[in-house]
């Protein structure tokens, strides 16, 4: 009886804001410009916002954006807080084991180092990277000492205040930072090619939804809109399809 009462109460709560239409919740980090960031109006913005909205239009889905810390972005996908991760996430074997990716929508991009001077020796100190990124794994595997931070912002701040000698991150993220630093921060010539391109991640059990987005990505690749979008956000010299 008690269970029944509780259930009735819960249904009543649920019915209060029920709607027939299914909404797909897109989860992003909101701290990695120009991929995704929170703009000054407090909304999700950037390449992935525009790209994601276009995909939803093509797949005739109603989508809603939500942000989540990078650290817990995969666990919260699995516990159902949102249905899709679209957060500049590189496709890797480790991640493939726990989530399913679409085809890549950004070709494998180079990662670059940002430091205070061009002649820094990468083995002479700690290299900063964001926690659970392909760059953090790469630094650790290649004989450099890694120091990890929760947000991309903090990795750059660590180089500025001398906690790390350089930061390894996606080149497209670091490029505007180096350009606007007025010469205090420089990109090293050395670049690393890691990761298998950026894709959207889904729960293993959500193959239907993944299929819809996959088809929409294919159609955007075919008519050239994806390439135009990449050029708009990452500059004309960015790799396209």
């Amino acid at each position: 009886m008690k269970k029944l009462l509780l259930a009735t109460a819960l249904i009543a709560v649920g019915a209060g804001f029920a709607a027939a239409q299914d909404v797909v919740r897109l989860g992003t980090e909101g701290a990695y410009p120009p991929y995704n960031f929170i703009n000054d109006a407090g909304e999700v913005d950037g390449f992935e916002r525009k790209f994601g909205d276009e995909l939803c239009k093509r797949a005739s889905l109603t989508c809603e954006w939500t942000t989540n810390e990078w650290d817990s972005i995969i666990p919260n996908l699995q516990s159902g807080n949102y249905d899709v991760i679209i957060a500049g996430m590189s496709i890797t074997d480790e991640r493939e084991e726990i989530v399913d990716f679409t085809q890549a929508y950004i070709p494998p991009a180079s990662s670059a180092y940002l430091a205070l001077s061009m002649d820094v020796d990468l083995k002479s100190g700690a290299v900063a990277a964001q926690t659970s990124t392909i760059q953090a794994a790469f630094v650790a595997e290649n004989g450099m000492s890694v120091v990890e931070y929760a947000t991309p912002e903090e990795t750059v701040a660590a180089v500025k205040n001398g906690e790390a000698i350089a930061v390894l991150a996606d080149k497209d993220f670091l490029k505007p930072i180096a350009a606007e630093s007025g010469g205090t921060l420089v990109m090293l010539e050395k670049e690393e090619s890691i990761g298998g391109g950026v894709g959207m991640a889904f729960r293993d059990s959500d193959d239907d939804l993944r299929g819809k987005f996959d088809a929409a990505i294919t159609s955007m690749k075919e008519d050239g809109t994806l390439n135009a979008l990449i050029a708009e956000y990452f500059g004309p010299e960015a790799k396209t399809w």
Binding site: K3, A19, R25, D40, G42, E64, S79, A157
Partner: protein, 293 residues
């Protein structure tokens, strides 16, 4: 928002500062102060109620209730807050969805816990996937409030348990000698007198509660710490208002906010303590009596 702010990159000086401080994200930041205050306003009485219930249970004559009360106090007090917060919010969320799963999902739905995933049918999601962002935020906030209330309720229960024991035995025995029953002694003698003993501990907890509100950030609620970090971080030209690393300025703002809150509370609690000590058989009450005489 304002006509003058239409093109932020072409304005400067005071106009820029004005436009910057009234951007949509800053307005969200100002609202998040209300979120924190709302949390305090709801959590404090809820924790007080839970604490009172816990303390009463812990000194009950019924064994089962006594064990329940003492277990609650010991368990929550013994587990680090952060672990409790991280664990409890997920457990509560999944527990609620599981109950709704039993009620609304069609028979034969797969068991929700599948390996690393937690899956219930669309109808059993709380809030529903189709509800607006407001409900998602409100639900997250409600989970946080319940967790805060349970954690601080346990500390409150311990303080109140101690305060109830501190009421002089002679008072209770006198009441009994006048023929009052257990309930009457509790209501008329014990509870009115216990507050003065509980107040120092409770005021301490209130201060800790104020200082613990940044834990909201840990629970994914976008509170003032979230916005301070988000707004203070350096911004490139992708943003409308590019600037350097201003996190220090924003955090100093938070520092002032928290210091003001604790300072105001100290004043209010000091008055309350004076009010409660009046006519009590304690050192403070005695001092007041002599000063008045």
């Amino acid at each position: 928002m304002f006509a003058a702010c239409a093109d932020p990159k072409s304005i400067e000086g005071l106009t820029w500062a004005f436009c910057y401080l009234t951007s949509g994200k800053h307005l969200d930041f100002y609202w998040s102060f209300a979120t924190v205050i709302l949390l305090l306003v709801i959590t404090a009485p809820a924790a007080l109620a839970l604490g009172f219930a816990g303390a009463t249970a812990a000194r009950s004559q019924i064994l089962a209730l006594r064990i329940l009360g003492k277990t609650y106090i010991a368990m929550v007090r013994g587990i680090p807050d952060i672990i409790f917060f991280l664990f409890f919010v997920i457990a509560l969320d999944q527990g609620i969805e599981y109950l709704k799963f039993l009620a609304v999902c069609p028979a034969g739905s797969p068991w929700p816990w599948q390996g690393l995933e937690f899956r219930v049918c669309q109808e059993a999601k709380v809030p529903l996937g189709s509800s607006s962002a407001f409900w998602h935020n409100a639900y997250g906030f409600a989970l946080a409030v319940v967790t805060f209330a349970i954690v601080f309720g346990a500390f409150t229960a311990n303080v109140m348990f101690g305060a109830m024991q501190a009421v002089p035995k002679a008072q209770l025995e006198t009441a009994e000698a006048y023929g009052m029953g257990h309930g009457q002694v509790f209501r008329r003698i014990l509870v009115p007198q216990m507050w003065v003993y509980a107040l120092p501990g409770l005021s301490n907890l209130w201060m800790i509660l104020i200082k613990a509100t940044p834990l909201l950030f840990l629970l994914g609620v976008e509170d003032i710490v979230y916005y301070a970090r988000e707004l203070g971080g350096s911004k490139t030209q992708s943003y409308e208002y590019p600037h350097g690393d201003w996190r220090l300025i924003y955090f100093i703002g938070l520092l002032i906010f928290y210091l003001t809150m604790t300072k105001l509370s100290e004043g209010v609690l000091g008055r309350l303590s004076a009010r409660l000590s009046k006519g009590q058989a304690t050192a403070a009450g005695e001092a007041m009596r002599r000063a008045g005489a």
